[in-house]
């Protein structure tokens, strides 16, 4: 930095100080109603004394999710925005390839009280829909819990079982394999077709692919975000089809191309 640069830097520093003084003055004038913003104190992974969560390196945990206490999250799982997995009184284990979608809550019942021990166990490739509430229950592999469903204590959803959206499953219910239960309280509705069973496993893999994209985006440092913002602005008004019509080949930078796994598998087959 030359002498001029140093001088400009110093002047900039003075002006910033003046600005901060003005800011403080404004805050003082606003008095008690003023709220000073603070750094985010939200903890994505938090331990309760010695119970620390164990999250696999390939799992996606959204920064706004909170995983508290004795929680194990397996490979390729995804915990989406605003989820709460609170394993403070007992353990929660989430298998591999499972997705727990936005704003869901997983909690456990009190441990070792009158001989009842109810950890929450979620198996592999399970899809738990948005805003579901899972309380002290067992969800086996390849099961499906629909949007807004509530599973109370001691519920067991067997392999390939399905809980329809918006249903409330009462205490100690067992949802047998390959059945759909729904309503409030949940009742047997019908058998699952083979097509739907394949759809459930498909949706789990789709979600784990999608999670990778979100994980990459959410873990970016500040410089990278700014850089991509500029890139996006620069390439925003360039359309591939339009360019090919003109016979121009322009490269879109790899940073702002989405990986294939976010696209519709059916569309890409066509």
């Amino acid at each position: 930095m030359g002498t001029l640069g140093r001088a400009v830097y110093t002047v900039g520093f003075w002006i910033r100080e003046t600005g901060q003084a003005l800011d403080r003055l404004g805050c003082r004038l606003q008095g008690n109603y003023y709220f000073q913003e603070q750094l985010s104190r939200h903890r994505t992974l938090m331990n309760i004394f010695d119970k620390a969560p164990a999250v696999d390196k390939d799992a996606f945990v959204a920064p706004s999710a909170s995983i508290i206490g004795d929680v194990q999250v397996g490979r390729g799982s995804s915990i989406w925005y605003g989820c709460v997995l609170r394993g403070d009184v007992n353990s929660i284990s989430v298998g591999s390839g499972t997705n727990i979608q936005d704003n869901s809550l997983v909690h456990v019942a009190k441990s070792n009280l009158s001989g009842k021990v109810l950890p929450t166990i979620i198996g592999d490739n399970v899809t738990v829909g948005h805003s579901a509430v899972l309380h002290g229950c067992t969800v086996e592999d390849d099961a499906f819990v629909g949007m807004g469903a509530t599973l109370l204590d001691g519920v067991v959803v067997e392999r390939h079982g399905m809980v329809a959206a918006g249903s409330l499953v009462r205490q100690n219910t067992r949802i047998p394999s390959g059945e759909v239960w729904g309503g409030n309280p949940a009742k047997f509705l019908r058998k699952l077709t083979d097509e739907e069973i394949t759809f459930i496993s498909q949706s789990a893999t789709n979600y784990s692919n999608l999670a990778q994209v979100h994980a990459a985006e959410n873990s970016k440092p500040f410089d990278e975000i700014e850089f991509e913002k500029v890139l996006r602005k620069k390439f925003a008004h360039r359309d591939e089809e339009y360019d090919s019509m003109l016979g121009v080949v322009r490269e879109t930078p790899p940073e702002i191309i989405l990986p294939d796994n976010i696209k519709d598998p059916k569309a890409s087959q066509k």
Partner: protein, 254 residues
Amino acid sequence: MAALARITRKAMINTLSPGHVIQRALSTSAAATTTTTAGAKTITPSADRVKWDYRGQRQIIPLGQWLPKVAVDAYVAPNVVLAGQVTVCDGASVWAGSVLRGDLNKITVGFCSNVQERCVIHAAWSSPTGLPAETSIERFVTIGAYSLLRSCTIEPECIIGQHSILMEGSLVETHSILEAGSLVPPGRRIPTGELWAGNPARFVRTLTHEETLEIPKLAVAINDLSKSHFSEFLPYSTVYLEVEKFKKNLGISI
């Protein structure tokens, strides 16, 4: 007493910390051995995973070239997550704790509509009906708290009650009201000017003319409320000063 407690706690942590690691390793290996019967899975935690991100959750998450767009006049609460192809039009408001995730398809929140607390709006790849699978919420729509919307179309001037669930490909036509806690199954169409309720949603009655006139008024009232919230937030937050101070304290160059 408090000091004593602190000392003992510190001592415990000090003595435990190497043992604690072993214990953790043991517990994971124990978990691994118990689950080998179900299918070999092991949890390998990575040291790079952040437990605390000082930036918190970003409000706007671009995916590839999809950048969520928020109109200058719209109010989006600070802890809302907008990801992918999301458009929030003029005068719309998205309240605290909502998640609008347009990673598979488009989501539009129209003029003067509002999405209230802790809603989740998502879009699927394809809908069972022939309709496009995007979630579109048109003008003067009120969506109650805790609602879940997935690939549905809501035409102008509707009210969706609290805790209601709209599944893939459902269509709510103009001037309809869904009561609180209703569930609209996939591909269901709710005709114009009717009140529906229940799980699954059933027809209750047709709306009177006065009620249909009330619907946009409610949306405008919530829009007014959102303006007062909007004016509370300055265009730039002053957290960067906190970050600078923090980094200076820790001796990290900015």
